[in-house]
């Protein structure tokens, strides 16, 4: 009797084993890094197919608009990816976006500067702010959170100061209260246009270009490896002769530069420089970086993850929007789906 039980038990164990072996290929498949990274996107796309809002989800225009909408956040996320890989954080990107958007509107609409110097000045201003953060963090040993929080507040104040607290647009009030209209510079309509027969927004191409530049830096250049090494273990990186100070300046400087690129893209799309622009964008940008799979602890991650994260967040917003989901549900669903997607990504044996 006892023997039969044992044999029975063994048989059961063998059966379980066999079943597990049957599942193994599937589990192995789900374990592959690229599958795990893609899984949340697939999940979100399935939601889109199910709730396709009278087939609006199948129209290319919806996807093009999604790419346009997420581009500004995505550009911020590119710079943030570099910073996060070094084990830091940059909270100032949203405010820097507001500051650079105002600056760009002011020099190009109000001062009527030609496009090239206007763009250059704005990019330099953004990078300079980033470098200041970097300097505070690496030379003065401030916590990245504190240093960039200070920069966030400072840059917002700067945006409000240079704009006088008002939106910088084509309409200008003369001292006697009568309005005057300035021309919208051509650079605005060029950047806020579409190419490839109207199938892709120019700002999306700028986003892809930013991804490409950062991808080359991280994957192909020596300085990219320095960024990972600094984030992985700063002490051993320093001992092995990596110039930590300059690595951090590079990361925060590029983050400021990307914020300026995003600021220009924001200004052209709004046709004005709004001193409040970019309020809270840093959180969405951080979400994009993290959703992709880049670790907030530093040392791990990459640009393609960020591209993926942008697609996930972008599609999520778009799907909720085309279905006209009321705001309150939207917030709850976004929270829920983000958690589901990240859990999905973490499937383990």
């Amino acid at each position: 009797m006892r023997e039969t039980l044992e044999t029975q038990h063994e048989a059961e164990l063998a059966e379980v084993e066999r079943r597990r072996d049957g599942l193994k290929p599937l589990l192995n498949f789900l374990q592959r890094p690229w599958v795990r990274a893609l899984a949340p996107l697939v999940l979100v796309l399935i939601i889109g197919v199910v709730f396709n809002a009278h087939r609006a989800f199948y129209a290319w225009g919806t996807h093009r608009d999604m790419l346009r909408q997420v581009s500004v956040y995505g550009i911020l996320a590119c710079g943030l990816t570099l910073v996060i890989i070094t084990g830091g954080i940059d909270l100032s990107v949203g405010s820097l976006l507001g500051f650079t958007a105002v600056l760009f509107a002011q020099v190009s609409i109000h001062q009527a500067w030609p496009a090239l110097p206007a763009v250059l000045v704005v990019l330099v201003a953004g990078s300079a702010c980033g470098l200041v953060s970097g300097e505070l963090i690496s030379r003065f040993r401030m916590q990245p959170f504190i240093a960039t929080l200070a920069m966030m507040v400072f840059a917002r104040g700067l945006a409000k100061t240079i704009s006088g607290g008002e939106k910088v647009s084509q309409a200008v009030l003369l001292p006697d209260g009568s309005p005057k209209y300035l021309d919208l510079p051509r650079v605005f309509s060029v950047i806020d246009s579409k190419v490839l027969g109207g199938h892709l927004a120019v700002v999306s191409i700028i986003f892809f270009a930013c991804v490409a530049v950062c991808w080359v830096l991280l994957g192909k250049l020596r300085w990219g490896r320095y960024l990972y090494a600094t984030g992985g273990n700063e002490d051993s990186a320093r001992l092995s002769g990596i110039p930590i100070h300059r690595v951090k300046l590079l990361a925060y400087g590029l983050s400021g530069l990307m914020a300026a690129v995003a600021g220009i893209c924001q200004a052209v799309q709004e046709q004005q420089g709004d001193p409040e622009a970019g309020n809270g964008y840093e959180l969405t940008a951080i979400a994009i970086v993290v959703m992709g799979g880049t670790s907030l602890n530093g040392g791990r991650g990459g640009m393609l993850f960020t591209l993926l994260g942008a697609a996930i967040i972008g599609y999520l917003e778009k799907i909720l929007s085309i279905n006209a989901v009321p705001e309150a549900f939207r917030l709850m669903l976004t929270g829920g789906i983000v958690v589901a997607a990240v859990l999905f990504q973490k499937v383990r044996k």
Partner: protein, 304 residues
């Protein structure tokens, strides 16, 4: 050097001469200068005050922080201003400091948003519901009683957002106007553009877009223009600020912008009346105007 000395003496004389008149100090407590409409309110106060050399206005901005505004009002009481203009962030938490000022003998004019109770001199504000209703009736008239409308709403947890929505729905009641898409754009232009893109993707024909504020309507216009469909529909917004709504109407972007007056100029007018000892009513509802292409240059048309 001599010239400089003469100038200084002259300045000093001018200052003493001015101090000889009875000069009033007015404290202006603004809840948030992060919004263009409130920037305009301060500008309206300033423009009206500049016409009267015997008043000086001190401005404080609470940066959208209720507690900061509470303490700023107390600072005004402590420095014994002659009159207080308060545009409160919220009713309940700002009632005690306003009441303290009033009881300390400082006349208080409350602008735009109310406080509870009756410890203030005068409330001046516009009526969002009424403006929404007028806008709804204008839409019915303009579209000939039927059509597809997209409504891009302000923050729906805020009273202005709720009133601009419910007023509009009262205005279109009984007509064949259909709201085919509605979304909360939280007063923000980039959000309005996003939501409008979704409205365009899901609706083959739209007759009119109603933005709860002008930047919202403008964002919707940019989305429709990017889709090549801006000619298909009209755009209407609320606020009618000179650099925003009125400018968009002049440029032919909005068909109409309904003014939500700041009352800044009226507040100064009333302040002078109070300071000269006149009795003023407890509440004033501001009239508002509609700006269209035909009337924007002549100052808009008053709504009845």
């Amino acid at each position: 050097m001599k010239k400089l000395l003469v100038m200084l003496v002259a300045l000093g004389l001018a200052a003493t001469a001015r101090a000889a008149d009875k000069k009033y100090v007015i404290g202006m407590s603004q809840c948030n200068l992060g919004e263009p409409w409130r920037v305009q309110m301060n500008a309206d106060v300033k423009r009206a005050a500049e016409k009267h050399p015997n008043i000086e206005v001190i401005y404080k901005d609470a940066q959208n922080d209720t507690l900061k505004q509470v303490s700023q009002i107390r600072e005004f009481i402590a420095s014994k201003v002659d009159l207080l203009i308060v545009s409160p962030k919220e009713a309940v938490p700002l009632t005690p400091p306003v009441s303290e000022a009033y009881k300390a003998g400082i006349p208080v004019i409350v602008l735009d948003r109310k406080v509870t109770g009756s410890d203030f001199t005068e409330f001046i504000g516009a009526d969002n519901k009424k403006i929404g209703r007028h806008l709804g009736q204008w839409v019915v008239k303009t579209l000939g009683g039927k059509g597809n409308v997209v409504e891009l709403k302000g923050l729906m947890t805020s009273t202005p957002g709720q009133d601009r929505d419910s007023g509009f729905r009262e205005g279109i009641k009984g007509s064949d106007i259909k709201i085919v898409f509605e979304a909360d754009m939280k007063w923000l232009e980039p959000n309005a553009r996003k939501e409008m893109e979704s409205a365009l993707a899901t609706n083959p024909h739209i007759d009119l877009v109603y933005g709860h504020n002008d930047p919202g309507a403008h964002g919707a216009y940019l989305a429709a223009k990017a889709a090549g469909r801006e000619g298909e529909m009209k755009f209407v917004g609320i606020d009618g600020l000179p650099q925003e709504g009125q400018a968009y109407v002049r440029q032919g972007i909005l068909s109409a912008s309904f003014e939500y007056p700041t009352g800044g100029d009226v507040a100064i007018e009333k302040a002078l009346e109070v300071l000269s000892g006149k009795q003023i009513p407890k509440e004033i509802v501001l009239d508002s105007r509609v700006f269209t292409k035909d009337n924007v240059d002549s100052g808009g048309e008053w709504l009845k």
